[in-house]
Symmetry: C2
Amino acid sequence: MAERESQVVLGLDPDPGALWPQRDAAREQATGDATQRAAAAVLAHCRAVIDATAPAVVAVKLQLARFELLGAPGRAVLAQVAEHARSRGLLVIADGKRGDIDVTAAAYAAGLFGGTDSPFGWIEGLRADLATVNPLMGVDALEPFVATARDSGAGVLVLVRTSNPGAADVEDLSVRGGGAVWERVAAIVDALGAAGVGEHGLSDVGAVVGATAPGHLARARELMPCATFLLPGVGAQGGRVDDLGAAFSPGRAGGLVAASRSIVGAYLSPEHSADGERPERAARAEAERLRESAWALSGA
Amino acid sequence: MAERESQVVLGLDPDPGALWPQRDAAREQATGDATQRAAAAVLAHCRAVIDATAPAVVAVKLQLARFELLGAPGRAVLAQVAEHARSRGLLVIADGKRGDIDVTAAAYAAGLFGGTDSPFGWIEGLRADLATVNPLMGVDALEPFVATARDSGAGVLVLVRTSNPGAADVEDLSVRGGGAVWERVAAIVDALGAAGVGEHGLSDVGAVVGATAPGHLARARELMPCATFLLPGVGAQGGRVDDLGAAFSPGRAGGLVAASRSIVGAYLSPEHSADGERPERAARAEAERLRESAWALSGA
């Protein structure tokens, strides 16, 4: 982050119906059935978006749902996109929000991080640097993710207070004895991360805290002083960089500002489309704008 | 269920290190890298388990984590196992416990149920009959799953009170104003399911209620009178069929009794291994034993 002076995470959740226009070339060229052709086009699109924005961002956040929708070819493309991001010096965040009982959580973690041994030989994982996880099932469902990530030099990002309106339905419920459900989850995050705090004072157990509810940020930081916050919801979901100051109180690496549609779809906005700007140029400009405002804010 | 006189769900969460012994033959025959060979062996194992137990069960529950671990070959095998289960007349439950914001939930749902249209043609989904979903992010994160399932003649199973010890950490928190978090989720399940109640009085929005906490079952049934309950945790996790009576109060289809390790690993238990029983025979005997006890209990 220091090297790139950026906290921006490029969110990739490629909809086969809304790829960058010139990616249509891939549609013509690709062979195979509909799923294979869609997967090939998604790969071309993701590579183009990464190439356009890489200098302004520190990581890609891959929305696993979009790749899963494309079956086996989608899973192959997911690995190729992760590899392409790594080749550009970017961290890879696997955004799958997984959560399950211990043995199952361990299987998910092996698949997302380093991989696993088997009687058939080594089974390679996705080698993500961070993965989002769901805490509903409690501490024993989170521990295998934390342990596996720690072994791999990776980390986890626990859903604490998400960016969607429905977060109010369960996460915001008031608990008898004080606090909301999400604040109890925040305490779990802080406890799980205590053994994983590194030299810069940040832990390998981070938190997802929606940028659309900035009022929660200061409280979240109080409860999780060592957690890196992944801040989704900037742009398309209404979050603003200027509201994210509390995320950066442990230092500039305290917050990762995630933006998906606002970067990838920048060329469709009135500002850019009026000039007939190419998607690459508009995406780079938007990523750069976010980078600058977050970097300035975090240093204030 | 009436036709087969069974409420038993065969859980398949194949660990490449613990497949049925004779599946080693597949290991020798299969070509490709470690992941491809493991996936081929997993496919052979799952087909054998399904063939051995199909007459005693109504559905397979596929643990998506285990297939994800095997990358693109694993995703192809997942579809093949689902197809094999369907060919034996079994329902397919995709156990992935997904949950995310609206557009992402819609992508997950399309992949798990019928599929989706795209500029590249129709992208086939897994065509699951039921999928487990995680309610942490609230109603707007559940609705796309419910809507897509309803359009496909399928259903969802919402995590309400899970079978692991960690369920106490978040699901059991007492909410100010009354009830636990899981009881609030139960109310959401009941409300979402109201428009999907069929001729037998059961809804297309069901609930996962762990068999290891039978004390919660009666209360769960009170809160969700029309929900089908998926009851995991019988056997290896300590749950007992005799404790599940409340699940069946709306009728025999009110409860699905899920067992994974207790069926697949039955041949390793002292009772069976002493006789040198083959895995097929032991699995069938255990599935049959569960079938009989659940069917008798549900008719009482």
